[in-house]
Amino acid sequence: MILDPLRPNPSDFVPLKAVVMEILLAVADRPRHGYGILQEVREAAAGSIRLDTGPLYRHLRRLLEQGLVVEVDRPVEGEDDDERRRYYALAPLGREVMEFEGRRLSALLDRGRALGFLSS
């Protein structure tokens, strides 16, 4: 990765809020629409993170502005017919940030395990 003066540094975005990470994970493997993100987050987080519509769109709006998430065209195999739905996917910058954050958290975990208070 090339750091150029005008490009934002992934390190500026970390640490990510837990709920933001969940949103980014939700659109990481394939594009989803808003309601789809809500469902995915609720399932995956299994109750530890609570996400409502309002906060979802607040975060989405900011992620769009920051360039971590982009809007994409509706996938051809449309899951439902609601015309109003828009689809979101992880942007390259978002991917970089996730990687950076992932590495950071992983290093923390390792050290925690080495010190004996985070179980493997």
Binding site: D4, D52, R58, R61
Partner: protein, 902 residues
């Protein structure tokens, strides 16, 4: 109520662009959620669900409205982006950021409030046009520089001088203000020539100024009011002009009111025309003050030369009265605010600046330490092309934010400090200035725009100074060197700088704390005042019989006999009052400065204008017994010491030691008699020193004479009938009595319309004197505490940092058998070496400060031997404690540290 419709309606709250983009989609999502959640949910759950959804919309709407429009594709570029990034990186290290902001904020705030004080009292000056041209006049001879101006000289000066636009004379007046529906009041006023107002360049707020026609013989009596009186007595009645007031028993017509903030010459509240009737005063008699305005472009030195010429001319023309007399010219402000006060507030500012310097050093070392820690991160950026300029910009942005936050904290602190001074210091009596305890009208201590700009500027400079080094190092950083794990070179240099900073901090702290220590001791000494006296339960009130206008023979109390009778009537009235236990009339209030009168030793040449004078109080015998004073030798004054009997006096111990070689009883001295000439009086007793010079006690000698033997005319005032006009009454009442009321009653019955003023108690007076020392003491206490805090933080920071840098070395030592406590001892010892060096340097600083700064201290010498050792000990132990905490952590380092390649 359909939640779907409700939600759609709520979405209209969103601002335009956001709504266009998200509303449809949000509606779709909400509908999907509702359809999934609603069936099977209880009413409560449904309501909560809808409420949460609506709140979410509101939140988004608020956020969207508060955001700036994002004009760039990448909102994180540009200046705003720099600041936001800087804010984020600072927020990630709250301890560091908070410490910097608090430290600098404290330094800036203290400096700003001290600066406001200096500015408001010394620098601002008079609120007149070209105030530097205003000069105060006195006369001087071989022994004194503060003789009053005489009316004849004033007139002659005016005619003969070539350096002044104009001169005007004025004198203080005791003004008894009477109105039918209020108790009489005594007001500070001034008899003043009408030309003074033109000289000063002021206009009235209402009506007109005094004019020369008011000064003519036979002109109707008029008065010009000050704003405060207009406010207090007449509620700013616009129809005040033309109303009549009884002033000193005589009706005066109000001609105008001066604007607020005008209280020339010092804190006067009304002005009466001054009539200079030269025919009825001899040359060399009479007492005036005079003010003049220099001609444009002339300086004080030129004026002095001019007046030397004028004085010589007068001495030749009138040798009897003017031989050896010269004119003494002083800048107006200098006359009323003496050097002691000026040096005290400047010292305050210097001390505050030192604290700021301390804070800056602290911040500098913190920034340095952080800079080294972040070196790796910065190096990566630089090496990958981020550009040194970019890095510097980031650091500069952080500096700007820190400076801004410190400025806010500093401004808040300054506001508190200034408010405290304005509140406490503005009370009359707090500062003993050249002319007493009144607050000069031109003082204006407040936190205004200029002070705030000062705050901002100082914060900026402090942060820039402190942050300069890390920024420069960031710019010059060689990325390769930084990337290598061997950073010993850079950190060694950083360490040296950090150590130097701690040494300097220590030295400064010693300086500040030693001054604080001196002030503290001063305040403690104050508790000695009043020891040995019975001060509780004694009320004090002052009574002033009205001044007669010059030449007026009528009016009550115009002649001395009627005044004498008043006082003895008053004494009798108080004695008969069942609520009064004991009362004493006198011309002295305990702990306040007593007026001086001439005296001579019997061997001196018989010269009634002899150079000696001494604090002289006329008191009744009960004055001493009320306060519980017992004689050291001989006896106290007694009732048998009456008007017609032998003149006697009681002296205090200082007088005996200075003038009577330690033995006083039976000796004679010369004191003013009924005609003013000095006559023999026998000393019958010696009492302990009773603070006749207030608490400053520079001239502690004093003489007490029987009140019954008072009445010698003194050369006071242009009015020659001042004797026996004022007295203070000390009253102790029976349990639960209101003695102030009793006093008023008695005076009212004997002399209606004569005010009783200055009502308080001896205890109150005791509390108020020394207010000045306590005020300064408070400031220095804060300075000292802040300095101590800075030292604590500074030493802790340094030791923590160096322990962090040397983890590997410590790990190696532990691996080689060094034990925990030994490590701790080693770390602490290294730190204390540094502390000791700093203290040594500080000792020199303290010596320099004590000798060069003139402080107003109470009964403490600047070279007090206790303070500096105490300060050194305090700082040494502070340094030890500060070093101990990280040292203990060092003691727990494991040998595995040696293996880490950080």
């Amino acid at each position: 109520m359909d939640p779907i419709r409700l939600y759609r309606w709520a979405l209209r709250l969103l601002p335009g662009p956001v709504r266009d983009r998200f509303a449809d989609e949000m509606q779709a999502t909400f509908e999907a959620e509702w359809r999934a959640a609603a069936p099977g949910a209880t009413s409560v759950h449904k309501v909560l669900f809808v409420a949460r959804a609506l709140t979410g919309v509101a939140h988004l709407a608020i956020e969207a409205r508060m955001d700036r429009p994002q004009t760039r594709a990448n909102p994180l570029s540009g200046l705003w982006g720099d600041l936001r990034r800087a804010a984020r990186s600072l927020a990630r290290e709250p301890t560091f950021s908070l410490t910097v902001v608090v430290a600098l904020g404290l330094g800036v705030g203290l400096t700003a409030s001290s600066y406001s004080i200096v500015r408001g009292t010394i620098l601002r000056g008079l609120p007149f046009e070209r105030p530097q041209e205003l000069v105060h006049f006195e006369r001087g001879d071989a022994e004194s520089e503060s003789l009053p101006v005489t009316p004849h000289d004033l007139v002659d000066w005016r005619a003969a001088n070539r350096s002044f636009v104009d001169l005007a004379g004025y004198t203080e007046a005791v003004v008894n203000l009477t109105a039918p529906d209020r108790p009489s009041e005594r007001v500070y006023g001034s008899y003043i020539e009408a030309r003074a107002f033109g000289l000063l360049g002021v206009e009235p707020a209402v009506g007109r100024l005094l004019s020369e026609s008011d000064e003519r013989d036979g002109a109707p009596p008029v008065v010009l009011l000050g704003d405060r009186v207009w406010q207090r007595w007449f509620e700013r009645d616009p129809g005040i002009v033309g109303r009549s007031l009884r002033i000193n028993d005589e009706p005066h017509v109000v001609v105008g009111v001066m604007p607020p903030g005008f209280a020339f010459p010092l804190s006067e509240e009304m002005w009466l025309p001054l009539r200079l009737d030269l025919a009825s005063i001899a040359r060399g008699e009479g007492r005036l003050d005079a003010v003049g305005r220099l001609r444009l472009g002339l300086g004080l030195d030129e004026a002095r030369a001019d007046f030397a010429r004028v004085s010589t001319g007068l001495a030749e023309a009138y040798p009897a009265s003017n031989a050896g007399i010269r004119a003494v010219l002083r800048a107006y402000v200098d006359e009323y605010v003496d050097d002691d006060f000026a040096s005290m507030v400047w010292t305050l500012l210097i001390a505050a600046s030192l604290v700021l310097l301390l804070a800056s050093f602290n911040v500098a070392s913190l920034l340095l330490a952080r800079g080294t820690t972040r070196a790796g991160e910065l190096a990566v950026r630089v090496s990958l092309g981020a550009g040194r300029w970019r890095v510097a910009r980031h650091l500069a942005s952080e500096a700007v934010l820190l400076a801004g936050a410190s400025a806010v904290v500093g401004a808040a602190l300054a506001w508190v400090g200034v408010g405290w001074f304005a509140g406490r210091g503005a009370r009359p009596g707090t500062f003993q200035l050249a002319h007493g305890g009144d607050v000069p009208f031109w003082w204006d201590v407040r936190l205004d725009g200029a002070s705030l700009i000062f705050v901002l500027a100082v914060s900026g400079v402090a942060v820039a100074g402190a942050g300069l080094l890390p920024i420069l190092r960031g710019l010059r950083a060689n990325p390769n060197q930084l990337l290598r794990s061997d950073t010993r070179g850079a950190s060694a240099r950083t360490g040296a700088i950090a150590r130097a900073v701690v040494v300097l901090q220590m030295a400064l702290a010693v300086g500040v704390l030693s001054v604080a220590g001196l002030m503290g001791r001063s305040v403690l000494q104050l508790s000695d005042v009043g020891r040995g006296l019975e001060t509780s339960g004694i009320a004090v009130g002052s009574v002033a019989l009205p001044d007669a206008r010059l030449g007026a023979d009528e009016g009550r109390f115009a002649d001395r006999e009627s005044r004498r009778r008043f006082w003895s009537d008053l004494r009798r009235a108080l004695a008969e009052d069942p609520e009064v236990e004991v009362a004493a009339i006198g011309t002295a209030v305990p702990f306040l400065r007593v007026a001086h009168a001439p005296f001579a030793l019997p061997d001196d040449e018989a010269d009634p204008d002899g150079p000696r004078d001494v604090a002289t109080a006329f008191v009744e015998p009960a004055w001493f017994t009320m306060l519980g004073v017992t004689p050291l030798e001989g006896r106290l004054l007694a009732d048998s010491d009456r008007g017609g009997s032998e003149p006697v006096a009681v002296v205090n111990a200082s007088f005996r030691d200075r003038w009577l070689d330690g033995s006083a009883v039976g000796r004679v001295v010369r004191l003013p008699g009924p005609t003013g000439a000095l006559q023999l009086a026998r000393v019958v007793g010696v009492v302990p020193d009773l603070w006749v010079d207030g608490i400053r006690d520079e001239e502690p000698e004093g003489v007490y004479r029987p009140f019954a033997q008072a009445g010698a005319p003194n050369r006071s005032g242009i009015f020659d009938r001042r004797e026996l006009r004022y007295a203070q009454v000390l009253v102790r009442g029976i349990e639960g009595a209101s003695v102030h009321a009793a006093l008023r009653r008695a005076v009212d019955r004997l002399a209606p319309g004569v005010p009783v003023y200055g009502l308080s108690t001896v205890d109150d007076t005791l509390r108020r004197v020394g207010g000045e020392y306590r005020l300064y003491g408070m400031y220095y206490l804060v300075f000292g505490a802040v300095s101590l805090f800075m030292v604590l933080v500074g030493v802790y920071g340094l030791v923590a940092y160096s322990v962090g840098q040397r983890r590997r070395e410590i790990g190696i030592r532990v691996a080689l058998g060094c034990r925990g406590p030994e490590v701790v001892a080693m770390v602490v010892r290294r730190a204390l070496n540094l502390v000791v060096v700093g203290l040594g340097l500080g000792w020199v600083v303290a010596l320099w400060m004590q000798s060069s700064l003139s402080l107003v201290l109470y009964r403490v010498e600047p070279g007090d031997p206790w303070v500096v050792p105490a300060v050194l000990a305090l700082l040494f132990s502070t340094g030890a404690v500060a070093a101990l905490i990280p040292a203990l952590r060092a003691g727990r380092v494991e040998p595995s540290e040696a293996m880490r390649r950080d």
